[in-house]
């Protein structure tokens, strides 16, 4: 392996000194993603990258990837860092490629209804751009402000518009990808071939940057709807809101977005912002279309909600929540961060799923919120979050929540989302006998495991010694299970969210 100083000089020669960082502080910023990690994780992994590279062009990305053949440093690509399972943090240091300097919108094709963008641009920026041109994105990830186009593709994210406009996969026409050998690949043909002509685009969805680095994307567009109306309904309990979401699909309605949020979320938000609505279990539904269509859907939704004991809330509530729809995790400011557990569950089991999530949270004595939204006609996303208190030795045990939630999702015929560093043990549970086929794909595209290695089929550690170089993925599962057990054994809830506790007592 070449020395780090040599590797640094080569990187600087490729990108210039202003776009290569190696200071302690900058490296620390990139040592975690949206999930807050206990410091004990540093015992296992070298989460701090050796260098942070900020390329501005596809050629520069390719150059950095090729340099790793000389330096033998691992490459970790990263978008907005809004992931939750360690997919975009290093496990053995190396070069972290922050794609956010590749943030240009390259052009819109109104006739072809597509927009070409660089991978580091945020979804919110793309959404604002296309709306100004009379178009809309059929699918927008939940964290559109922080999430980059490349990041969301790599995490296989769900979000707004799925039920109506299809999955994010359907909304992407073509990708430019720098493969682990440094070459550039266009994943689909120039004209829309509908998945024919050896289309490889879907392969990069959910790949977490393990197959290559997405540098550009061609996204499909739809005409901007005439009207968007957010509606909110309060329910006596969250499972009723879950039943309401299922009833929407059973009635053949296709709102743009439909989500269930529990009262605890608003308790947290109230501690931060005074204009937050009264805490209540509610459903937020956004309908789109012409005035007639919106009115028709609203009427149908009102009827469905009342069947489940729902009460319509004033329009101002819906408008406020819709405006803030991309700011869902303000509660992390109340503590030392939060853990989100993203899971997909069968829609028919959604009421049971939200109950299960609340039960697990309460059993582990955690403060958190249960949320869910519709993905398609069979699937709902269940994405509860819990607050962490890393100031106490027991803070990290909150990670056990993610393990327990994932197990519960499997039991309900669903699955947790994401693999990364922490959830890689789920891969075999997800794919069973087909796991070897997934392994073969990685073997073909990245035989030397240069890009984001040691995160999909094995868990690499920072140690170079045989026997300790990698741990079997089930080892991670055991660690998280122990965390959950410790958490459960803890006598009290964390006391750090005073506002929350006061509100509960009040």
């Amino acid at each position: 392996m070449a020395s780090l100083d040599y590797a640094y000089r080569r990187l600087v020669n490729t990108l210039g000194p202003e776009r290569v960082a190696r200071s302690e502080f900058e490296r620390m910023v990139y040592s975690h993603d949206f999930a807050s990690l206990p410091k004990i994780a540093l015992l296992q992994w070298r989460l701090y990258p050796d260098f942070v590279a900020l390329p501005q062009t596809t050629e520069e990305v390719s150059g950095v990837v090729k340099l790793s053949d000389e330096s033998l440093l691992q490459i970790t690509p990263r978008g907005g860092g809004t992931g939750w399972c360690g997919g975009s943090v290093p496990n053995r240091g190396g070069v972290l490629i922050d794609m956010r300097k590749m943030n240009h919108i390259l052009g819109i094709d109104p006739d072809g209804r597509t927009v070409a963008v660089e991978a580091g641009v945020s979804w919110k920026e793309v959404e604002d751009f296309v709306e100004a041109k009379g178009f809309a994105l059929p699918h927008v990830p939940l964290n559109a402000i922080g999430s980059t186009v490349g990041g969301a593709i790599n995490s296989g994210s769900t979000g707004f518009g799925g039920l109506r406009g299809g999955s994010l996969r359907d909304a992407v026409a073509n990708l430019d990808v720098v493969l682990p050998d440094g070459s550039l690949l266009k994943t689909a043909s120039g004209a829309d071939a509908g998945g024919a002509l050896a289309d490889l685009t879907p392969l990069f969805f959910g790949a977490e940057g393990t197959l290559g680095i997405v540098t550009k994307a061609v996204l499909r567009l739809i005409p901007k709807p005439e009207l968007t109306r957010p509606l909110t309904y309060s329910f006596p309990e969250l499972p009723a809101a879950g039943r309401f979401l299922k009833a929407i699909v059973d009635a053949g309605l296709t709102p743009y977005h439909a989500a269930a949020v529990d009262r605890d979320h608003f308790v947290f938000e109230r501690a931060l912002r005074s204009d937050t609505p009264e805490p209540v279990d509610l459903a937020l539904v956004a309908v789109q279309g012409s005035k007639d269509e919106v009115a028709d859907q609203e009427k149908a939704l009102d009827a469905l909600a009342s069947k489940e004991g729902g009460a319509k809330l004033p329009p101002a509530v819906g408008d406020g929540l819709w405006r803030e729809r991309h700011n869902n995790y303000g509660a992390r400011r109340l503590s030392r961060g939060l853990m989100i557990s993203y899971n997909l569950v069968p829609l028919r089991r959604l009421p049971e799923a939200v109950e299960t999530a609340a039960r697990i949270r309460d059993k582990l004595k955690l403060n958190g919120s249960v949320q869910a939204h519709l993905v398609d006609s069979t699937t709902a996303a269940l994405n509860p979050y819990v607050l962490m208190d890393d100031t106490r030795p027991s803070g990290g045990t909150a990670l056990g929540f993610v393990k327990r939630m994932g197990d519960a999702a499997f039991k309900m015929d669903g699955h947790p989302m994401g693999l990364g560093l922490f959830l890689v043990f789920n891969l075999r549970k997800m794919h069973g006998n087909a796991t070897s086929a997934y392994s073969a794909v990685k073997g073909v595209l990245d035989p030397r495991k240069k890009i984001n290695g040691g995160k999909t089929f094995e868990v690499w550690t920072k140690y170079p010694w045989p026997g300790l170089r990698a741990i079997p993925p089930p080892g991670m599962a055991i660690g998280l299970e122990v965390a959950a057990i410790l958490r459960r054994a803890k006598p009290t809830r964390d006391r750090f969210v005073r506002a929350y506790e006061h509100s509960k007592e009040g």
């Binding site: 994943t187 071939a193 024919a196 392969l203 969805f205 053949g252 309605l253 028709d296 669903g414 699955h415």
Partner: protein
């Protein structure tokens, strides 16, 4: 579909010194039509060889066992055949000699044409008797075995309160499996067939049951989306035995509207506009006069656009108004036409038989605005080629028409090749259009495409390291 096998065969053939002098396109033609003036007799022999044994599958365990036998993990005795079949099986396959066996799935109905390189020595699987359909109790999900007829799935789903969102653009009597091992053109206004697939139940090349995707939920965030990437080539990596499909709720009200157009320019503009209309449209099909005559009795206009609406009972009138406005310029409208896919199974099958008489060369994907131009050129080409041309198409919300030119011509391989080549030439002159027929995969020499195919080939060799599922063949 045998696409990788055909592509690999051509790639290897062009490197044979004796054939290297032949230009690629001429070689593909010679292989496709089995031209014995160009190719050596040994190659012609390979291309004319058929799988010696066909197994009619009744349960997936049979496929598992068969794979283990072909892999040499089990003896042919374990197949439980009677003495006569046992002897036939062993002699036909040449069991005991030093040779590899493969197996291939036989589609129930092929829209276009058979692949170039047939399975050389192995077994052909016939899934017509493996045709069960199971619906989820309280959700919009079906698991259809690959031999299940699409029409049966559609009818049973409606009876159970679901809607099968995808329909065949060319209404042949396809089985569900024809979309994964054949060329069934399923789709809807909102997406292609793959959008509605949650999972494939497969048998791996090692004889294990392997599920690709998740039957009950979408597969987001579970490592590479191998499911949706591989659907067009799935039967070359695994043996798919059942498909978990995402259905929708049966809408409160459904209506099929038929609009007649006599001007290609007007129909093109109208199609572009209607593709911008939001949800509520199930499918939009279009036919020219030739295709319309085959599908529907009575006089046929130059173009007919059929729109299937499905929404709430109270909202359907408003949706019809929106569609009327988008399709402005039509000559006549019929608002009470029956949904052609709701026809009784027997009537549907008869129509399918009539449609199947035509020769199809594959799918052309074309921007709606260019549809009239394309239709005119195909008609003129058909007249020149003494093969009257027609067009079946469906429109997607992306503004792309998926068009299937049909020709009244005998289905011999020379005619298929020449007509395919003609369609390709037409498509090359229309911006934004793509011809995705199987032959295009062999003709195409764009570097990115070749790279992608090479990656697929490598993935096949890794996933099917046992060389069992449609193994690649060297010329």
């Amino acid at each position: 579909m045998g696409l990788l096998k055909d592509w690999d065969y051509v790639e290897q053939a062009v490197r044979i010194p004796a054939l290297a002098e032949v230009i690629r396109e001429a070689l593909i033609r010679a292989l496709f039509v089995r031209d014995d003036r160009v190719l050596p007799a040994s190659i012609i022999g390979d291309l004319n060889r058929l799988p010696p044994v066909t197994v009619k599958v009744k349960e997936d365990g049979e496929v598992r066992k068969l794979i283990r036998v072909l892999n040499g993990e089990e003896s042919t005795v374990s197949l439980g055949l009677n003495a006569e079949d046992y002897h036939f099986f062993r002699t036909q396959l040449g069991v005991g000699r030093t040779r590899e066996f493969g197996l291939t799935m036989r589609p129930r109905v092929l829209l276009t044409y058979d692949w170039i390189v047939p399975e050389q020595r192995g077994v052909q699987l016939d899934f017509t008797a493996y045709a069960g359909v199971e619906f989820a109790e309280d959700g919009h999900r079906a698991i259809a075995q690959v031999g299940a007829l699409w029409k049966r799935l559609y009818d049973d789903a409606l009876a159970a309160g679901h809607l099968v969102p995808f329909v065949p653009t060319v209404p042949l009597d396809f089985a569900i499996g024809d979309a994964v091992c054949g060329d069934a053109p399923f789709g809807s206004f909102r997406g292609g067939f793959a959008s509605y697939v949650n999972a494939l139940r497969t048998i791996s090349p090692y004889g294990h049951r392997a599920r690709i995707g998740f039957e009950e939920v979408a597969n987001n965030g579970t490592a590479y989306d191998l499911l949706h990437a591989s659907i067009p080539l799935a039967s070359e990596f695994f043996v798919p035995v059942a498909v978990a499909l995402r259905l929708e709720a049966k809408p409160g009200a459904r209506k099929t509207l038929t609009y007649a157009f006599d001007d290609p320019a007007k129909v093109s503009i109208a199609l572009d506009k209607v593709s911008r209309v939001g949800p509520g449209i199930q499918w939009v099909h279009l036919t020219d006069a030739v295709a319309a005559k085959t599908l529907r009795p009575g006089p046929a206009e130059a173009f007919a656009v059929q729109v299937s609406l499905g929404t709430t009972a109270t909202g359907i009138a408003a949706k019809e108004k929106v569609v009327d406005a988008a399709l402005a310029g039509f000559k006549a409208k019929t608002a009470d036409a029956p949904n052609p896919f709701d026809a009784p199974a027997e009537a549907y099958r008869k129509t399918a038989e009539a449609v199947a008489r035509a020769l199809f060369v594959g799918e052309v994907r074309i921007p709606a605005k260019s549809f009239g131009d394309f239709a005119g050129k195909v008609r003129a080409f058909g007249d020149q080629s003494a093969a009257k041309a027609g067009i079946y198409g469906s429109l997607g919300s992306t503004g792309i028409v998926s068009a299937f030119p049909s020709f009244s011509a005998p289905k011999d391989r020379i005619k298929v090749y020449d007509l395919s080549k003609g369609v390709r030439a037409i498509v090359a002159r229309i911006p934004g259009a793509a011809f995705t027929g199987r032959l295009t995969h062999l003709w195409e020499e764009e570097p990115n495409f070749l790279r992608r195919m090479a990656l697929w080939r490598e993935m096949k060799l890794q996933i099917d390291a046992a060389h069992v599922v449609q193994p690649l063949v060297a010329p």
